[in-house]
Every structure is written in structure tokens, then in C-alpha cells.
Symmetry: C2
Subunit: 112 residues, 2 copies
DNA sequence: CTTGACACCTAGTGTTGCTAGGCCTAGTGT
DNA sequence: ACACTAGGCCTAGCAACACTAGGTGTCAAG
């Protein structure tokens, strides 16, 4: 999957998977890879900065977990995060519709 | 429409409208605005660099037109541009599917 | 004779996802 | 004992990109 296509949509994707239940960084990566059927196979260096940014923005909070002896930073949505997710999903629909109507619309046989 | 969402998709959008027939810069802007029903209302400073980049990449060529007394740079697709457009559209489908299955998919496998 | 639409252009900015590294612990070989 | 992998966290710097804010010039309308 091309890197650039993700720009501007990462927040929504991360918020989406965290919305289903508390997750730590690695868990977010796994969830995105699995739910996208392998399409989104992100590096840690991609995901961690996103989590930090979202937390700084007040959309996520974290709590440390040591249960397994391994330290994990479990993130979950704040109410603002839930609201933002809903908003971004509706923006996403509009975006897809707009793109589809540009590339999809009927036209004279594309030539050249 | 948020700026960041467009990243990585501009090329496809511009190629798409030019594929319908030769267009100059302003024409591209108009076409995108109209076809997207106002969602994509781009500034010249956004579109011109894209056209130049696409031409440098061999996906577009231009010819000057002076017919109306106004100089216009009419762009059209090269064969490579047509191929790239097709490829990007199929990538677009995959991208949309991947995103949808992340945000849409049903919640955690109730998992026993 | 100024205003605004049309038509072109570019240097610089801010955001963003990625690369490439680093640190630490737990388990698995050998 | 030692190496190696996987899990888990992190950040500095890079490159791409869309946008801002400016510029030049023509033409029609008031």
C-alpha cells in the first residue's frame, strides 16, 4: 500500500481500532494489519508518533499495564476521541463520494 | 474538504479529468470542482505543481493554444498517463476496501 | 482606468508517514 | 553462558505533498 494514500486518514484508522477496546502500540499495528487483511502493515515508527499526537490532542488516554511482566501502554478513547472518530468517518464518506464522482462519472471514452 | 485527505490521490484525480479531454490548468480546477459537486475547490498553487510533476513524470504533455487570444496550456494524457491512471484507480479500490474493512468491520470477534 | 475574472507561475511553510536507528525484557536455542 | 528473536517502547531526521502567499500578464465591464 502506497504511503501517501494514508496521509490524512491515519488518525481515523487508529481511532477506529482503539474504539473497539483498549490497545497498546503493537496491538494497534496488529489490529490494522489483520482488519485490513494485510494491506496496512505499518512500522512502529509510523504508529507511535500518531498515538502521541492523538493523545496530545486529547483524543486518547493511556494507562500502563504490567500484567504479563511486559510493560504495555494501553490506549483508549476519550469522549472527544469518540466524537472525533464519528466526525472523521462521516468526512470519509464524503471524501469517497467526491472521489468516486470524479473518477467514476461517465464520459467519452478516455483516449490517448 | 480537508487538505490532508487528498495527499496521494491528487494525481489520480487530475489524470482522471484530463483523461476526458484536453484541459488547461483552470479547466482542471473547474472540472474537479464541478465533478465533485464543490467538494474539491482547489487553488491554482495546488494544481499547477501537480500538472508540472505529472508532465515531468511523462504522464502528461501540453500544447499551447492561443485561439481566444488568451494563452492556454492544454494538457492531455500520454499512453503512460493512461496506464498510470488505470493502475491508480485499481489501487484506489483496494485502498477504499481496506479502510472500509478497518472502520466498518464488525467488532471484535465476540471470541467465545 | 480600475476592478475582477481568466491564465500562468514559484518559493516557502506545515503536516505527515516513513526510515533508521536506539533502549529494554522475556523466551528459545545452542 | 551467549546469541538471537519477538515483543514493547521511543525519537531524530527525511521526503513528499498540498497549500499559502505572493508574482506576471491579458481581457472585458463599470
Amino acid at each position: 500500500m502506497n504511503a501517501e494514500s494514508l496521509k490524512g486518514h491515519m488518525d481515523m484508522l487508529v481511532l477506529s481500532v482503539v474504539a473497539r477496546g483498549p490497545l497498546h502500540g503493537y496491538g494497534v499495528i496488529d489490529a490494522l494489519r489483520e482488519r485490513s487483511d494485510g494491506s496496512f502493515d505499518l512500522a512502529e515508527g509510523t504508529v507511535y508518533p500518531v498515538l502521541h499526537r492523538l493523545e496530545r490532542a486529547g483524543l486518547l488516554t493511556h494507562a500502563w499495564s504490567e500484567s504479563t511482566g511486559r510493560r504495555r501502554k494501553l490506549y483508549r478513547l476519550t469522549p472527544a476521541g469518540t466524537a472525533r472518530l464519528r466526525e472523521q468517518q462521516s468526512r470519509w464518506r464524503e471524501f469517497v463520494d467526491a472521489v468516486e464522482s470524479v473518477i467514476g462519472g461517465r464520459a467519452w471514452p478516455a483516449m490517448a
